[in-house]
Symmetry: C2
Subunit: 350 residues, 2 copies
């Protein structure tokens, strides 16, 4: 009735002359009270504009919020605009939604403005991307809460992965069946020091435990060696952020090489990198695949809904998200999980 404040369960109970327990049960456990009483309560609630028990109070009382937090290593802005992260989130959301849970988005690099984390509200956590180990232990993830990692393996937690090394081997092996004159690799955040450009001996590469792209490199190198090409002689460029804006200048520089020095095969560690190369090569009038063959990694829609289609490794990020979400909800036993990938051959590298 009061238009200024929300009515509470207690007030509603008083109005009706019943106990708060009955009102609570009317909303939460229909079997705990007579049908008639329940109808009376619900009708009065409607009349007074009571929308049901307050979620804040309930979550305190029960200890459960029906909220699962996704902790993203990258900024929310990047993650939401990245096709792979979006797919993952969509797989997570699909499962949560079907089970009455909702999704809270948290940035790993928590802003300083953040008051003592609202993250302790979540029932469980899904962490995505490579997290600095320090963050994992920090205030972001309360102890005693379930956590599932995706694409990295923090000590003591279950992780969802793909087979990066064999998948990379497979696509490189495919590409190398037509021997290239000048193969090259474009890697993603592989060096200890940030590097947008050519990787030299001065750079230290991150170990496989710290980045999935190192495993991809190992797969590429294995295929190269098997095809009689010395991996040490294959030039590599690195990119720090998987966006067109960051990729473009590095790739322009590569394509600027004279015709007899320009790579004729680019093994890229992501579709974003490969698609940027494709676009920029097309703008220069290079013929794909005659002048330049390009492979990606991820299998995002954008690479398939175009001509020429991208040759790539499809990873089912949506499924990774579903698996992680099922573990967090306890629908599946929590254990390390490996999701299969699939080689997809498009016209960019037939």
């Amino acid at each position: 009735m009061s238009s200024s404040r929300r009515i509470t369960l207690k007030e509603l109970a008083r109005h009706l002359g019943v106990s708060t327990a009955s009102v609570s049960n009317a909303f939460n456990r229909p079997d705990q009270l007579s049908h008639a009483l329940r109808e009376r309560i619900l009708a009065e609630a409607r009349r007074l504009g009571y929308r049901g028990p307050d979620a804040k109070a309930r979550s305190l009382r029960t200890g459960r919020s029906q909220i699962v937090a996704v902790l993203l290593a990258e900024s929310l802005t990047y993650s939401l605009n990245d096709a792979v992260a979006s797919e993952l989130l969509s797989g997570i959301a699909e499962v949560l939604d079907a089970h009455g849970h909702t999704l809270l988005l948290l940035s790993g690099r928590q802003n300083a403005a953040q008051v003592p984390g609202s993250s302790s509200i979540a029932d469980g956590f899904i962490a995505y991307g490579l997290m600095p180990p320090s963050l994992m232990v920090s205030a972001d993830v309360p102890a005693q809460r379930p956590l599932v990692a995706v694409d990295f393996s923090p000590e003591g937690y279950p992780a969802v992965h793909i087979d990066n090394e064999p998948a990379s081997y497979a696509i490189a092996d495919h590409a190398l069946k037509s021997p290239p004159l000048r193969p090259a690799i474009i890697s993603l955040r592989l060096t200890e020091q940030p590097c947008n450009g050519r990787v030299t001996e001065a750079h230290t590469q991150l170990p496989p435990e710290q980045t999935i792209t190192r495993s991809r490199l190992i797969g590429f190198h294995r295929a190269l060696a098997e095809h009689g090409i010395d991996p040490a002689g294959v030039p590599m460029w690195n990119i720090e952020e998987n966006t067109f804006e960051v990729c473009a200048p590095v790739i322009e520089a590569i394509l600027d090489s004279p015709d007899d020095e320009r790579p004729d095969l680019l093994l890229c560690m992501s579709d974003r990198i490969a698609l940027t190369a494709l676009t920029l090569a097309e703008r220069r009038g290079l013929r794909i695949p005659e002048d330049l063959r390009i492979t990606g990694f991820d299998g995002i829609a954008e690479g398939q809904y175009r001509a020429p289609r991208l040759t790539t490794v499809r990873q089912d990020s949506t499924e990774k998200g579903r698996i992680a979400a099922r573990m967090i909800l306890g629908l599946t036993p929590s254990a390390d999980s490996l999701v299969a990938t699939e080689l997809m051959i498009g016209e960019s590298c037939p």
Copy 2:
């Protein structure tokens, strides 16, 4: 110390022989206690593994959760994979993150499994897309909570919009400067009855209050009329979901027309539709723009990072998100807001 349960503020206070108020202040209001006591409290907290006040309890006590919910008309799966919705979310996230708030994702079509909404946990709501009015009033949005709408205008709430009609007029006007032989329109969810295909007189079109695409159609028609083309004679196809999968068959059917019946100008109501047309036309060997000119609407990155670039209207969805978020946080007075658009001329319709 106990490894089985999280320690509470009260227990920590007892350990230290201080009041709970001092512990609370140590975390929340450093100026309310001496530096020495604060340090002692924080040190002991660290030692005992206390990560700071529990968010559930704090939100109940203070009435604020630092959580803002985004209520999406479409499914979470669709929204997360749609470039326009993702941009909006990213603008929202950017502002929330900078102000210590987090983002809760809610699907408008709340799943039936949902226990009495966890939505009442949010401090405020941003609703995106066209919501059935019934949903707006329903349990999803508790009364007395701030709400900002984006791309639709529920009675009594501030809304963030773009100038759909003039923007559509502008792009059609540009396209019509080279007179087409057979212009056509592909609209997005414009009919009362779901329709993936040709729109006929049997279909009822939604009114402009109920869909932004009706305003886009009005803009197209105004331009057509001004260029001496009777809008009634321009064929229109409609698409229900803005995805490649749903667009493709409709567009295939259009492109299947004999050469002298196939449209030579497609005015599309979204970039997704236009890009699907572009891809499918290219696959058939049609020359763009010589055989077919195509325009989009939205200005998503995918349309610009390709060759030919898409001629389109750029709407700054990120900025729409930022504005809505600022209103919800009270950083900006809540009032209707109109975000400017920009005509972008690419090679798909020079």
